[in-house]
């Protein structure tokens, strides 16, 4: 009895130990956009939601300027506090911010135990602030909307997997560089425009949507969405549920390295504009697709070599296949690495008619 009493006593004593945070009163942050501010400052734009049991969800946008990401919080004077970043979903950077490096800002989220690692990092063509301020178009707020947009493009569409964890993974890892989606505000809607290529944490190039699809197929085993293929005779075929199985083979990693990528693709035809989908036609579609993936893949790698970046993690593949791998030598050789790609396409189903 003595013990029970003293334990109960402790329960009462504990209630005042730390500051309480009540969900109805804490503003919840879903999205932050970063732009260049005045005299070297960062301009941060946020959209946050307050949950009220009696009313609807309230969404509001705020803007502030400071030198650091956490410093922005102090400047947000018109805002109820404390701000919770536990549900943060999307971090956006304007293109010119991304070109100068974003790790200083990401550090704020990587360091904070309250922040998640499944946050999407994106680059905005134009101003991140304007994109976020356009939030009133979206019923659930722009943060959750963009989170769904990117998530679905990864799961059902043609975008390779990306999030804060993978950005951090590739930033700190040797022989790899991160990629993020590019978004753009077009008149009244937000669109995914492709992939931003990073050298460490600085954006150095872009891939458009078409290239992004090929990138996703070659990058690693992946399951993509829909793809429209133009045939040499001017007809079009649509491929769906394209699954890729990828194998990287690096030979002589430490001396005279060479790379072979074998890509096995499996897809279904869901639309065809020509007369009849014969067996020969199917082979032709497969061959056209093979050539396209191979040619565009090689172009892309040549572009990466020129930029000195490695979004395909070729360096890491070389490390895993070479004993006592020497990254210094690799970095010297990488721009002139001979690359071959073998693509094999298998057309599975072609719908319920011929």
């Amino acid at each position: 009895m003595k013990y029970v009493c003293s334990l109960l006593l402790f329960c009462f004593l504990l209630t005042g130990c730390v500051a309480e945070e009540i969900i109805d009163e804490v503003p919840i942050l879903f999205i932050v956009g970063y732009d260049h501010g005045e005299d070297g400052k960062i301009k941060g734009t946020i959209s946050l939601q307050t949950f009220d049991p009696n009313q609807e969800v309230e969404t509001r946008g705020f803007e502030a300027e400071a030198y650091t990401s956490k410093g922005l919080r102090n400047q947000l004077s018109g805002l109820p506090k404390p701000i919770s970043i536990g549900k943060m979903a999307v971090l956006l950077f304007s293109e010119d911010m991304a070109e100068e490096g974003i790790i200083d800002i990401l550090d704020s989220f990587l360091r904070d135990p309250a922040a998640g690692r499944l946050i999407y990092v994106g680059v905005v063509e134009g101003s991140a602030s304007e994109l976020i301020k356009n939030e009133f178009q979206y019923l659930q707020g722009i943060g959750p909307f963009l989170q769904n947009l990117i998530k679905q493009s990864v799961e059902y569409g043609n975008m390779p997997e990306n999030n804060l964890h993978l950005f951090d993974y590739k930033y700190y890892g040797d022989g790899m560089d991160p990629v993020t989606p590019i978004l753009r505000m077009e008149e009244t809607e937000v669109k995914i425009k492709g992939l931003a290529l990073f050298d460490d944490d600085k954006m150095v190039g872009k891939l458009n949507l078409d290239e992004m699809f090929i990138f996703a197929l070659i990058n690693k085993s992946f399951s993509a969405g829909l793809y429209e293929l133009e045939l040499p005779d001017g007809e079009y075929a649509n491929l769906q549920k394209i699954k890729s199985k990828v194998k990287y083979k690096v030979e002589n990693g430490n001396t005279e390295p060479s790379l072979n990528i074998s890509v096995k693709l499996n897809g279904n035809i869901v639309e065809y504009t020509g007369e009849k989908l014969t067996k020969e036609k199917k082979t032709e579609i497969a061959q056209t697709f093979e050539k396209k993936v191979e040619a565009q893949g090689l172009d892309m790698i040549a572009q990466f070599q020129k930029l000195g970046i490695d979004p395909f993690s070729i360096g890491d593949h070389a490390r895993s296949q070479t004993r006592n791998f020497d990254f210094k030598k690799w970095d010297e050789r990488y721009p002139n690495l001979p690359v071959t790609i073998d693509v094999k396409v298998n057309i599975g189903e072609s719908g319920i008619i011929d």
């Binding site: 964890h165 700190y172 040797d174």
Partner: protein, 362 residues
Amino acid sequence: MEQNRKDLLISPFLIMFIIHSNQVGVGILGFPRYIAAYTGNDAWIVVIITGIIFHVFIWMVYRILSDGSFDIIDLHNKWFGKWIGSVFNIALMMYLLLGTIVILRTFIEVIQAWMFPELATWIPVAMYLVLTYYVLAGGFRTVAGICFFGVLIPMWLVFTATAPIKFSTFSNLLPIMDHSLKEIALGTRQMTLSFVGIDILLLAYPFLKNPKSSRIWAHMGVLLTTLVYTMVMVISLAFYSEGQLQQSIWSTLIAWKVVELPFVERFEYIGITFWCFVVFPNICLTMWGASRVGKKVLHIKQKYFIFILITFVFIACVMVVNRDQVDYLNTLTSIIGTYVYYFYIPFIFLYSTIWRRVTRRI
């Protein structure tokens, strides 16, 4: 042995839970980066090697204790005489107390760093110690029970490993055995701290029913620890890139950040809360061990001696105020632990073997 009445003894299989729960503590939340600093992608091999070494230690400990049902306190006195034996015993007590302080303070640091930054250290320390007293007052059987639940209740956390696997690159483990023997040896020395804990066997031995047949369970305990550690290590190596792992202080907790559940956004909070169950048996066991020494060497009633120990641990924990000091405490324990296992245990093992030979001849 006055307390060796039948109703005070525990079933031999419980030694598995006692050993496993004393080995696994806070270290598992962050050990991968310290090992990977030496051996990179081969760190999982180091975990298995250390596991095997600890099976040898279990064997040695059972050889040391093999005749009669004496604990190490009696044996120290028997072999080295009352004075030198007492010095050994007090040193053992200090070592156990250091273990309590390290694990308690490190876990509270986790709580402060992750959940409640403004929480004063003394509050969780006091909570833990009151609870520890409650358990110790119930005797060794209660402590063993706490160990049992301290292993079973958090066991389901193993399934959360599937979430980071989704983002893992298992080719990170290749090429296998790409590091020199020296690096692997250094990694093994570093890994020792995480495996430390089978020393409790030296004190718990007389409390086991059929102590000799309990050996298989002791080995099972170490095997379970090795499996859990290997799993955590393999996932950490695959989930993080090498540079990223070196950045992450609590890599296991950070990996929990990618667990997605519909009702909770930050899974770490649930993980840390359940970790209270993992940490608690550690504190109970080491405190119990230390209080045994007090009872047998200093002839103070265990009930009162626990009070002295609790006060001591409380003051020591509150005095540690920042990350650097916690880190220093861990390094210190790691060094002392290495000496205890690689010098002290082999030493008394040899001593006991020779002693037995000599006395048998006479």
